[in-house]
């Protein structure tokens, strides 16, 4: 479903993604793990057509995200690391606009929208403004919205960041069910190793823009002789703290937290 070969992306003198190659099969739940600044989000941005690769090839459902962006965009749903809901609109309006943007016919839009909101336990709050929602509800709404147009691939970039264990557990239960019933391929990133261990069929670990290991959770543990995925992850990526620079994006993120937008 996804094929990435020798992918490179540089920003000035920094190489964020450095010769990355991997495959994700149809229906698979694939976890992309790595420390901050390892290149996870950059890779997702390139696969989701909002960033151009410096070199290398990308393929999503047999199509090229760079040259066939419109066709590719129809085939995936995405939940970015930073929120992309309109908090001044209601949950239902967010869903409805998404349906129009993806040319989902009105009856389908309404039926599937209702089903998804019920599934994610947001139906009762559908007419409330998103700004009155908790972090967990917003995340659930974003995932529901991303699934409205029945995508073949669902990208989830740190979807559970900042959520309590109950919300995380509920979110993954629903996503795994959809993965089983609708055969949607799930591509996720997370810093919670227990999540990756639980939901991912296969895991790739990326560090400093390069893939350092790929395999199932059991294979990674075996390979490193560790008994937990977290221990395996630390063996593969070291214990040095990353992300020491504070970017303009981080600054905006901090301000946004203050304003609770």
């Amino acid at each position: 479903m996804i094929r990435v070969q020798h992918l490179v992306r540089t920003f000035g003198t920094v190489t964020a993604v450095n010769d990355v190659t991997f495959d994700v099969s149809k229906g698979e739940t694939f976890a992309f793990l790595g420390p901050n600044g390892a290149g996870k989000t950059t890779t997702i941005k390139m696969l989701t057509t909002v960033l151009r690769p410096t070199s290398g090839t990308l393929e999503l459902d047999g199509l090229n995200p760079v040259t066939e962006s419109t066709e590719v965009r129809k085939r995936f749903g995405v939940v970015f690391q930073d929120p992309s809901l309109d908090s001044e609109l209601t949950a239902w309006e967010n869903i409805d606009i998404h349906g129009v943007l993806y040319h989902v016919p009105r009856p389908v839009r309404h039926e599937r929208g209702e089903n998804l909101l019920k599934l994610f336990e947001l139906w009762d709050r559908r007419n409330d403004l998103v700004k009155t929602f908790s972090g967990g509800m917003r995340r659930r709404l974003e995932i529901a919205r991303g699934l409205l147009h029945t995508p073949k691939v669902l990208f989830l970039d740190e979807p559970t960041q900042g959520l309590d264990p109950q919300s995380r557990n509920q979110m993954w239960t629903i996503v795994k069910n959809l993965n089983a019933t609708e055969h949607v391929t799930v591509f996720l990133t997370t810093h919670y190793m227990d999540e990756a261990d639980r939901v991912a069929d296969r895991i790739a670990i990326i560090d400093h823009g390069k893939i350092v290991a790929t395999g199932s959770s059991a294979e990674l543990k075996q390979q490193t002789g560790a008994d937990t995925l977290e221990a395996a992850f630390l063996k593969l990526t070291g214990t040095t703290i990353r992300d020491e620079t504070f970017s303009a994006e981080d600054r905006m993120r901090q301000v946004s937290r203050v304003w609770r937008r």
Binding site: R73, P83, S84, D86, S87, H98, L101
Partner: protein, 246 residues
């Protein structure tokens, strides 16, 4: 079309829901109208130019439209990282439709704000020539709104500091150089050139020409310039929009 419509509707809905913001954004134009309108009135009259309120009311309407249109565009700054813009950027629709939807939405909001201020100027004592004159003037106001909404939407700024930059180096100069507050004849050479480069000058001159029949350039030239600049800004903005990366 449905994409342009839904994005336009989104802007208008949000505007109608933000009652507090509507009131707050009327503060600055009201202050200009009250303080300058009545404060400079006696001087203007002594200089033999007639009623200052009559003269500056179209300018204050133009200012309201400029500020509202630019602000809704500048909101994109935030939107790009933490908001809805990304949702539209990954949607399988041509970017030009997204740009036009947002531009028209922002322009509509600006015209609505301009209408409120127009009503206020009437209360303050502003007297347009006729009802027909007002209707024609609103076509010019709509053009101003589209021009600056397209400029702000299409400039696709990246960082937070951009907001201060845009305010101090774009919005304020556009406003002060537009001849909204002073007549265009007999200006020092440098100022005369600068006012003629500012598209808002033609917008406000057009509103003045249609509403009170006092135009410096002639309404036809005003509308011609606004149309050209509008086409330029929409085209350039659509092109920039198609290149946005997140």
């Amino acid at each position: 079309m449905s994409v342009i419509y839904i994005l336009w509707l989104r802007e208008v809905k949000k505007y109608l829901r933000s009652k507090a913001q509507i009131v707050a954004s009327l503060g600055t134009p009201l202050m200009y109208l009250a303080v300058l309108g009545f404060g400079l009135g006696p001087v203007f009259r002594r200089a033999g130019e007639g009623s200052y309120l009559q003269f500056m009311a179209p300018g204050v309407i133009g200012m309201t439209v400029l500020f509202t249109a630019m602000f809704s565009g500048i909101a994109m700054l935030w939107d790009r990282q933490f908001g809805f813009l990304k949702e539209t950027l990954v949607a399988p629709v041509p970017r030009v439709q997204i740009m036009i939807g947002r531009t028209l939405g922002g322009a509509t909001v600006a015209v609505l704000q301009g209408t409120i201020i127009f009503a206020v100027t009437l209360v303050a004592g502003f007297r347009p020539a006729s009802v027909l004159a007002v209707l024609v003037a609103f076509l010019v106001i709509a053009l101003i709104a589209v021009v600056f909404s397209a400029l702000a939407t299409g400039s696709s700024l990246k960082e937070m500091q951009g907001f201060q930059m845009v305010m101090n180096f774009l919005v304020m100069p556009l406003w002060f150089l537009s001849g909204a507050l002073y007549p265009l004849q007999g200006l020092p050479a440098v100022l005369a050139v600068l006012t003629r480069v500012d598209p808002l000058t033609y917008g406000i001159d057009g509103v003045r020409g249609t509403m009170i029949g006092a135009s410096h350039f002639g309404v036809a030239l005003d509308v011609g310039v606004l149309l050209c600049v509008g086409v330029l800004f929409v085209t350039a903005g659509a092109w920039r929009f198609s290149k946005i990366e997140v």
